[in-house]
Amino acid sequence: MPPAVSTPPAPRPGVPRPSALLLALALALCLAVPGLQAAGPGPGPGPGSPGVPGAPPPGLLRQAARAALHFLNFRAGSPSGLRVLAAVLRGRAAVDARRTCRVDLEFTAERYDPEVADGRLGRCSARVVFRHQKPRPAVNVTCTRFMETSRSRREDFLLYKRAKRLRAPLGATSIPNSHGWIDPSLRPIWDLAFLGSSYVLWERTTQTLHYYMAQLSSVNQWKTNEDAIDFDYMVLLHEFSTQEIIPCRIHLVWYPGKPLKVKYHCQELHTAQEGSGTEEGSAVAPTQPNNF
């Protein structure tokens, strides 16, 4: 996949040209959220340093990186190959008249499982387009491999075999428990839960909202008698900027090497809206991540 095409940087604010002023305003609007405050520039070196005109705030770049990685994790469909953000390297943002915010960035990623993480970082580049405060950012992402394709397929297949043999604790559960403990025999459940959640986390990430999977709170169904793993469960997602906990029910069907199928439904706590979504196969996104 070709690397993201780089765009010219936004004109510096203050330049007295109407189009430049509009773009500068739009860039500011890219970040402003009524009632919430987007993370602004932080101190110290790094991308988006304050005082550099036109530089996007590092908060926005991190949002884009997270959205890209959730999307990548979902598309890859590999529970043993899940990645999380390590550090943003560089990036830029541009906003159009419809307040669509396009972010191009490079960042490093590491393996999700801290016990397995060996400090090795993958390098990623991505283009992420946030429609103004709407979910489902468009993502185009490439990352370098952590390991050879054959090895990652092997690890997925081993996980699959362990999952097939596993008798999951049905009903309400706490994984991890309050002490942060996940029984090693239950690890495949956690990894698959996170894989399914990746779809939800990608869909819900905006310029200002980002989520983590806090806990697996119940296993409604764990069917392994057919070829694929059929897994229906509840997770608690933690939204960082509002600090809210959001319960979501997720139903996934997974077979190693095949695209992940996901359905979900989240409860919104006191707004009337509820969020839900379905993804089947690979029909939707225009590009495939090339990480294998």
Binding site: Q37, G40, V84, S174, W181, Y212, Q215
Partner: protein, 338 residues
């Protein structure tokens, strides 16, 4: 650890007992038993690498103050909403001279278990519940976010007047008994308190004032410098990366926080620590990481104390050392079932 010339105040801990997310009393139904054994009895066998329920922490405090009677004393701070007592540990060498005070609290948010674990480490649990347990709206709604309840730009931004929200700021500034107790104590000693640290999780951040505005405190540059030095010291231990900045800049807008309030009543060094991790486990940080987290955090806190010491003890014009007091408080707000 360098001999304490001062008194350290440690305040921390809201631990819900078996509180499930939905508010029911839920012992985890299929808890894998990895740590059993008889209830802990003696200080010698106390494990600092496990999470402890509130009774054990109380017992620990008592035993600490008995064993180190000359140095550590337990004091009553006030009562929680559920009329449970709150205590703080005052750690200081006996002295006739007036002392400067350093305050540290851990666990003002109930779900951030690694924070009180650190407080205990520093001296020698609904699980995801954040707020206090006060009742509102005729008992139809529970809990104030205590870290939005302090009297500093109260409820102006980043907080909610709706009790159902997780950042509910309370019925008014300092409306909650827990906030009143901390405020009264700190206010009464504010001339002597030079450093105020509040320990939270997660995010791996060292936050300076303010959250309620992007304006900076008068000593912002210095706070950043000291904070960055602390983050560097922390990173040397196990390689963990912490970011340093004002809350409004690198986190999100908040009003009514203890850190901002402490700064605005004149305490010069005021920080929020957001401990491990970065979201992989979040609030439910594995107990296996307690040791490493506490070791590295210790380096950071000591670094801050070093800088504070440099500033307030070495520059004493009379040439004599002004002893300091460290007050360690445990903000106890036991939660129980709905």
């Amino acid at each position: 650890m360098k001999p304490l010339l001062g008194t350290l105040c440690l305040l921390g801990i809201l631990i819900p007992e078996g509180l499930g997310y939905d508010g029911s009393l839920a012992q985890p139904r299929r808890e894998v038993v990895e740590e059993t054994g008889s209830p802990w009895q003696s200080l010698d066998t106390y494990s600092y690498t496990r999470y402890h329920p509130m009774e054990e922490i109380y017992q620990w405090m008592i035993q600490i103050s008995e064993k180190y009677a000359g140095v550590a004393t337990q004091h009553f701070l006030g009562m929680t909403y559920e009329t449970r007592p709150m205590y703080y540990l005052k750690i200081s060498q006996p002295s006739d001279n007036p002392k400067k005070i350093i305050w540290m609290d851990c666990g003002i948010h109930a779900r951030e278990w690694i924070a009180p674990a650190f407080c205990q480490w520093f001296v020698k649990e609904d699980r995801l519940w954040r707020k206090s347990r006060s009742s509102h709206n005729n008992g139809t709604c529970f809990g104030t976010d205590l870290n939005r309840n302090f009297n500093v730009s109260w409820c102006s931004i980043g907080a909610s007047k709706n009790c159902q929200d997780i950042t509910f700021c309370g019925s008014g500034p300092v409306s909650e008994p827990e906030t009143k107790a901390v405020s009264s104590f700190v206010e009464s000693k504010k001339e002597s308190i030079v450093c105020f640290l509040t320990m939270h999780s997660y995010g791996q951040l060292i936050l300076t004032p303010y959250g309620y505005t992007k304006n900076k405190s008068s000593n912002h540059e210095e706070l950043i410098q000291v904070g960055q030095k602390a983050a560097n010291a922390l990173k040397k231990k196990h390689g963990t990366n912490y970011r340093v900045g004002s809350s409004a800049d690198i986190l999100y807008a908040t009003s009514g926080s203890s850190r901002d309030w402490a700064r605005d009543i004149g305490i010069p060094f005021s920080y929020t620590f957001e401990l491990r991790d970065n979201g992989t486990y979040g609030f439910i940080l594995p107990a296996a990481q307690i040791q490493a987290t506490c070791e590295e955090t210790m380096e950071a806190v000591l670094s801050v104390l070093d800088d504070v010491y440099e500033k307030y003890w070495n520059s004493d014009s009379a040439g004599k050392v002004t002893p300091a007091t460290v007050v360690l408080g445990l903000l106890v707000s036991l939660v129980s079932i709905f």
